[in-house]
């Protein structure tokens, strides 16, 4: 275990640790552009120079290993001068078009300029001009003048997405990043290149000119597009999602997220179910609940009842749904709907396109309920159908079954055939509006947080059920996610009694589906 | 003949009260604003216009009237409704009633009700105005209103004494309580050339009367019952036409004070050295009436000037002035007058 001294402080680190990582551990700030903890080291920006007792010249701390007896100085005049000089070089041909740059506000170059250079340019000649505002892929815009040639983007494509689609062209001051002639950057993780780009050279088409980053509010949540459940940050402004950024989570997705997950929020921007509906006609929420309570009474006690659960529901909503299902009149069966399996790779994307199938299975098992496959359940021509969620495959079959049923109830965030065919439809929250937990395929339990507040009377599933049971049953079920979490998850050994708030940012787990 | 008498009396009331007093009162509300503006090097309100006619802003009183009539008439919760309704009416009516005995010209025809003891009538009826203040403040169920009413009651009672006592001197000199006799008496000449006006024989009396009557009118520098800057006063809760009535009363009172002062101290309708018995008739009578009106207007102007010159008193100063300065002075004035009269 090498022991080294940084600014006089001794630290012992594992072999193979870079100096910059040791500094990070000590909380010593080292400016950097090309170093990224998730990528290989390129050491080409030279922003991280520090003084070492083993070298007459400053060394790049992101590249040099920590070895025994090393003494590093990070605050000497030499280091300060080096940083200043490096920044001046980097900025030589920079267009300084921050006013129109989407990165402004979260740009490393801006921040480091103010911290380490802060002088007017001494470059008295015309600047080099390079291609600007080029679309180099379905999601990516390139502005080569802003590029500082750190090659992080190239390394993301090569090492993370395993799709070497970017490279550098030209030499010296004219170097810039480009795709190969006739191709574009279109791998499933292409938007990650804009995340790692320390400047505004690579930006996303989706976020282009949409909002300034300093206006956004970030909500730490989880992506619901596949069963990995990548940690994401939902950036909102004025109650609208502006973009979705991956959030660092070493146990789930490291630093990355796929394009599909980051663009999925568009699905819930339109066609939202904005009020309760009875037989396709909008009705007031309270009236709908009262009518439903009456309708439920009229279901014969021997009737065939089907409850279709969605693997996109939170554990808490699933718990509440099954609890209410157990109180329903008739012969109640449960089926699991949700999206069909799809594309998978061995990077992040999983075949299962639902975020909480594992959690739903756990809740079912805990409550001692068996689920049948959806197609089999529908074959039994149920007389009453309850459908939770809005992203079920076999939608047309469901609609047909609902037509045949005496009573059909849908809890859906989206307006569409399901909501219109139902006797009663209730508007629920989109995945960006719910509060609760999801358990991913690998047994990590993560907290989903609401980033938006619908302006209409949409409620989480558990709230609708809570309102319904107050009307219907003598007993009221809990309708608060925090309360539900404790009950729903109490069956997991390690979680007994753990409050929801303890689920943290990285999630807890991994859990197998081991019950008490 | 009775109905004839009634008709003529009614006509007189109409001409004097409605045409002259109320109009003058209304115009004074505008005069006050324009005059204060000019004193303060401003222009004042001059923009009310009908079509292209602006008439120097003379239309403002009309606009004000429309405004007052159309505003919400607000009665606070817990107010004594009847007294709340009555208060402004009492205030205005008692003020207007005083004009009944003012002789506007020579002879009986130019007085609405020629009483032998006209001055007593004025003092008696004028004191009624205090009810408007006290009842208005009390009935509105507002602490500030009540404070204003209390201040008002104390102030009016204090200064009424002085005001009455200062008229006594004049009565003593002329030996009559009838206002028309008083005016005739002022037609005489002193030493053959000086008109024997009240202000000549009772100069101290006039000054004290003016001060006391301005205090009676509750206008600056004696506007404590109103006290806009701290309590808003007895009409704090009054709005719309009710407030306008209180407001108008103030201006009618200005006219009243001017009329009494003109009658008692400035020879009423007398034009010096011209037809002191008022028997000439014709053009001269018209001139005499006109001169009386002129005197009233001049005295109104004087009151306004004083109001826009002097700052307000503190309450203790007000009481000190009333009881410790004005009252002894007016008593002394009466004593001196009596002695002089007894000696001559």
């Amino acid at each position: 275990m090498p022991t080294l001294k940084i600014d006089g402080i001794e630290i012992t680190v594992e072999p193979g640790t870079r100096i910059i990582e040791a500094c990070d551990r000590l909380g010593i700030d080292i400016p950097r552009f090309c170093y990224h903890p998730g990528l290989s080291v390129a050491a080409n920006c030279r922003m991280c120079l520090v003084e070492s007792n083993r070298s007459p010249k400053p060394v790049p701390s992101c590249y040099e290993m920590a070895v025994d007896g090393l003494e590093i100085q990070t605050k000497t005049q030499k280091v300060i001068d080096a940083r200043r000089a490096v920044l001046e070089y980097i900025l030589l041909n920079h267009p300084i078009d921050c006013p129109i740059c989407d990165k402004a506000g979260e740009c490393d170059l801006q921040d480091l300029y103010f911290a380490h250079n802060y002088q007017p340019s001494r470059h008295a000649f015309a600047k080099f001009h390079k291609p600007k505002a080029r679309q180099i892929g379905p999601q990516i815009m390139a502005d080569s003048e802003r590029c500082i040639n750190c090659t992080r983007c190239i390394r993301v494509c090569d090492e993370i997405a395993k799709a070497p689609q970017l490279h550098q062209v030209n030499r010296g001051g004219r170097t810039y990043i480009d795709v190969f002639p006739g191709t574009e950057i279109d791998h499933p993780y292409s938007m990650c290149v804009s995340d790692v780009c320390p400047v505004g050279a690579l930006t996303t088409k989706d976020f282009r000119f949409k909002c300034r980053v300093w206006f956004t509010n970030g909500t730490q949540s989880v992506c619901g597009e596949c069963s990995r459940g990548c940690s994401i940050r939902i950036d909102t402004y004025r109650n609208e999602i502006q973009r979705i950024m991956p959030r660092e989570n070493p146990t789930v997705n490291q630093f990355w997220a796929c394009d599909a997950g980051r663009l999925a929020y568009h699905n819930y921007e339109t066609d939202r179910l904005q009020s309760a509906k009875a037989n396709g006609q909008p009705v007031a929420s309270d009236a709908a609940i009262t009518q439903l309570a009456t309708a439920l009474d009229s279901v014969a006690s021997g009737a065939r009842v089907l409850v279709v659960l969605s693997p996109s529901m939170t554990n808490e909503a699933a718990w509440a749904a099954i609890k209410v299902g157990q109180k329903l009149k008739g012969m109640v069966r449960y089926a699991i709907g949700g999206r069909e399996a799809g594309f998978k790779d061995d990077i992040l994307i999983c075949a299962d396109k639902a975020p909480n199938r594992a959690g739903l299975a756990l809740v079912l098992k805990t409550l001692g309920v068996e689920a049948v496959p959806l197609s089999a359940a529908l074959a039994g021509s149920p007389q009453a159908i309850y459908i939770f969620g809005d992203d079920h495959h076999l939608e047309d079959v469901l609609v047909k079954a609902m037509d045949g049923a005496q009573l059909s109830v849908v809890f859906s965030a989206k307006d569409g055939p399901l909501a219109n065919a139902a006797s009663f439809a209730f508007p629920t929250m989109s995945p960006y509006e719910i509060d609760g937990t999801w358990l991913n395929e690998f047994g990590i339990l993560q907290r989903v947080r609401p980033a938006l507040t619908p302006t209409w009377d949409a409620r989480p599933i558990e709230k609708w059920l809570g309102a319904l049971t107050t009307r219907l049953l003598d007993e009221q079920i809990a309708d608060d996610p925090a309360e539900l979490f404790v009950t729903a998850m109490s069956s997991v050994n390690a979680l007994d009694g753990t409050p929801l708030a303890a689920s943290g940012l990285d999630g807890i787990g991994p859990f197998g589906i081991a019950l008490k | 003949m009775d109905w004839m008498f009634m008709l003529i009396a009614l006509l007189k009331v109409l001409v004097v009260l409605v045409v002259f007093v109320l109009m003058l009162g209304a115009v004074l509300t505008w005069v006050e604003r324009r005059m204060s503006a000019l004193i303060q090097d401003r222009l004042g309100p001059n923009r009310a216009q009908i079509g292209n006619v602006r008439a120097w802003g003379l239309l403002h009183p009309i606009a004000d009237m429309f405004k007052a009539f159309t505003k919400e008439d607000f009665v606070p919760a817990g107010a004594n409704r009847m007294l709340f309704f009555l208060a402004p009416a009492i205030a205005l009516a008692s003020t207007l009633a005083c004009f009944a005995v003012i002789p506007f010209g020579p002879g009986e025809h130019f007085t609405i009700a020629p009483l032998d003891s006209g001055m007593l009538f004025i003092i008696a009826i004028g004191s009624f105005g205090i009810y408007g203040v006290a009842l208005g403040g009390w009935a509105s169920n507002n602490n500030f209103g009540l404070l204003g009413a209390l201040r008002g009651a104390a102030q009016l009672v204090s200064y009424e004494v002085t005001m009455g006592l200062n008229l006594v001197g004049v009565f003593a000199v002329f030996g009559t309580m009838s206002l028309s006799q008083l005016v005739l008496g002022q037609g005489e000449l002193l030493w053959g050339w000086l008109p024997k006006w009240g202000v000549v024989v009772q100069p101290v009396g006039f000054v004290l009367f003016l001060i006391a009557s301005m205090a009676e009118n509750k206008r600056a520098p004696f506007d404590l019952p109103e006290g806009e800057s701290e309590i808003i006063g007895y009409f704090a809760e009054f709005s719309a036409m009710r407030f306008a009535t209180f407001f108008l009363t103030e201006f009618v009172e200005i006219v009243l004070i001017a009329a009494i002062a003109a009658t008692v101290f400035f020879g009423g309708w007398q034009i010096p050295w011209l037809d002191p018995q008022g028997v000439a008739g014709g053009f001269i009578t018209v001139a005499q009436i006109g001169f009386f009106v002129f005197k009233i207007i001049a005295l109104c102007w004087l009151q306004m000037l004083i109001r826009w010159t002097l700052p307000r008193f503190r309450y203790d100063q007000l009481m000190n002035l009333g009881w410790k300065v004005l009252l002894p002075l007016s008593l002394a004035n009466i004593v001196v007058t009596a002695i002089v009269l007894a000696l001559s």
């Binding site: 006013p99 001494r122 008295a124 300034r212 | 503006a37």
Partner: protein, 169 residues
């Protein structure tokens, strides 16, 4: 140290207030008559007909400046909206076809909120927004009238002498 104020003992004449009151009356009546007859000292400006010349740094209604080709100079950087303490600037950015890339598709200023502080002008990196039109924002009868659009703001605009993307001399 406390300052001692010289308070001469008032004699009877002063305490009777009569000379001072008369003096006051003389001052007020002089002002009255002078202004009544000649208007000499009246300082009133009869606003809509007469106007006071505003000082050159008067901050009035905003205007958006133009480029040589008459297009809007603003690049929709939102710095004005960020600096605005009243949060009254609403911009929607869009893509332009020429090299300037970004421009405001819509640019609204809500004059009900604006406090004419000039922070937006101060913040603008492009000399695109100014408050030097020399005009008031005239009052209106509806809220909508109080929100001026890009077109209204451009109507008062002119060329800026500032050079964009200039190099250091």
């Amino acid at each position: 140290m406390a300052k001692l104020v010289d308070r001469p003992k008032a004699d009877l004449v002063i305490r009777s207030y009569i000379p001072e009151v008369l003096r006051g009356l003389r001052v007020t009546s002089r002002h009255f008559w002078v202004n009544f007859l000649t208007r000499k000292n009246v300082v009133t400006i009869e606003y809509p007909e007469e106007k006071y010349p505003y000082p050159p740094r008067f901050r009035g209604q905003h205007r958006l400046m133009k480029r040589e080709d008459d297009s809007v100079r603003c690049v929709a950087c939102f710095l004005c909206a960020t600096a605005c303490p009243a949060d009254c600037i609403t911009i929607k950015a869009g893509e332009r076809s020429d090299k300037n890339e970004k421009y405001p598709v819509s640019f609204e200023i809500d004059y009900i909120r604006c406090i004419f502080c000039g922070m937006c002008e101060e913040a603008c990196p492009c000399d695109a927004i100014r408050l030097d039109s020399g005009d008031h924002k005239l009052p209106g009868y509806t809220r909508e009238e109080e929100v001026l659009q890009k077109e209204d703001l451009l109507a008062k605009g002119g060329l800026s002498i500032a050079k964009q993307g200039g190099i250091l001399q």
